[in-house]
């Protein structure tokens, strides 16, 4: 092999390695955006609206289940990270567009950590969902460090469910509402505890293990 060939091969390999390294770093550092709810007046309650969809419908993982967050301007953002002020009432609305199933652990069928340990489903208060009856539980919104966990009642799997986010209320949906007080400043993990990562071992890979889909953070600002 001539010297020119060796140099050429070396340069190409180096370039490939450099590109691979850049792609890897960009992917590792890439974080879903943060929706900011801290601009409201001091001490005022903050309304946070999310939706859960069975398939995101586009992007690099169109078949993955996902949460989305509605920003203060009313635009749906594909993220699971949002920021709220400390020590204020957080009113959460989750519009669930996904079907349900029995829970792996019915312990997660309870509402915990909200005001009165109660939430509302389509306007009716509830404390427990029997995941083995009706449409089952689609997902949970759980923040273990704060003891918060709310099961999201599923839609009928035979219905014509929304298949591409952001979904609108013209598709079958369930509206779950609850409130809690935000803690002190910090970063609080939240996630779905239903193993809804289809095609992954125990259902906990893929979207369950990727920020921006079924788990994220509630950032609490000072």
């Amino acid at each position: 092999m001539s010297l020119a060939w060796k140099v050429t091969v070396t340069v190409i390999l180096f370039a490939v390695a450099a590109v691979a390294a850049v792609v890897l770093i960009v992917n590792l550092l890439g974080q879903p955006p943060t929706v900011d709810f801290t601009s409201s007046s001091s001490g005022a309650p903050v309304d946070v609206t999310l939706q859960s969809v069975g398939t995101y419908g586009s992007g690099s993982h169109p078949t993955w289940v996902s949460y989305l967050v509605e920003d203060p301007q009313g635009q749906w953002v594909h993220t699971t990270t949002f920021q709220v002020p400390a020590h204020v009432r957080i009113n959460v609305t989750i519009i669930n567009y996904d079907s349900g199933s029995p829970l792996r652990n019915q312990q997660l069928g309870q509402v915990t950590g909200t005001y009165g340990n109660v939430a509302t489903l389509n306007g009716r208060p509830f404390r427990v969902i029997n995941s083995n009856a009706g449409n089952g539980v689609a997902h949970t919104f759980s923040m273990p460090s704060l003891g918060i966990s709310i099961p999201l009642y599923g839609n009928n799997g035979n219905a014509n469910l929304c298949g591409a986010a952001p979904c609108t209320t013209s598709s079958p949906h369930q509206v779950i509402k609850f409130s809690f007080t935000s803690p002190g400043p910090g970063s609080y993990r939240w996630q779905c505890f239903v193993p809804c990562g289809l095609g992954f071992l125990y259902g906990n890979g893929g979207p369950m293990a990727t920020l921006g889909y079924m788990g994220g953070f509630m950032q609490v600002a000072a």
Binding site: N105, G109, S142, P144, P195, G199, F200, N204
Partner: protein
Amino acid sequence: MTDPGAAGPATGPDQSGEQGETHHWWRLIAIWVVLSAILDPLFYFLAGPHIPPGTMTDVAQGAQFDFNVLFVIALPVLLAVWIYLIYAFIMWRASRGGPDPVGGEAARGHLGIQVGWILVTTVVVLFLAGFGTYELVQPGGAGGGEGSSPIWTPTSKTVLPIQVIGQQWKFTYRYPTFGGFETNQLVVPNDTTIQFNVTSLDVIHSFWAYQLGVKADANPDYNNVAYATTQELGSFIVRCAELCGIWHGAMYNNGAVVTPQQFETWAKATEVRLRRNTKLLPPFALTYTPDANGADGGYYPDNVDPYSNVEQYGAPQPKGGG
């Protein structure tokens, strides 16, 4: 020509006992004995009581005692090496402009020292092996998971069973003697022997109640038993000690040792508060075989009917199903 190893400033330790020579060995031994006699009790009585994991349970106290014993034995060995090294650096260093240190009689091996060193270290290691083996299982399994049929059991006749259920990524706790309610909170009474029945609903986790001195793997379809007898009030932390997925690092919670009266009050109130959900839980069992959502170990596409309503947490498995 004189033998440089027989006299001069670079004389070795085996010169002790000769008329007019420094008694290096006696000096070394004296320094070692005095330092060991001072530092060992200082460590044992001042630092020892604060060594983790503390004394919240008998097994935690046992772990603390074991560490202290090992340290008290290891410290004189450490001192012997350090004292000899420092002494040698000071006493037998080459002086500037003086003759180079050379070998000779003083640098030759000493059979007595070699045999003595091997003998002493062998005795120490054998003792520690025996001591460690005994302490590994006493009292009552020393807080480790003993499998489903424990050999080393506590002497207490009154045992409170608590089931620890691991799942990605949290622990929950069932109290079978209080109606089988399941909660996120781990509350235990003081002066009570606890029997932790540890299992998992998915992958392998490890229940590590650090201050309780309890650590037991949580395996799916397996009941791993660990014992501890509480003896101090306070809070403790539970962590998962087995890398179990992306949120493994966040799989922890706090627990509390409370008075028996407080525990009774809490347990009865929680039993009532959670009664509606307790009815929906599967009957208490030592292990559960959740089948829904592929939790039987299969991947989703292979699961026959992951959304069947009869496949639920703890439900009996149909023959050939899953």
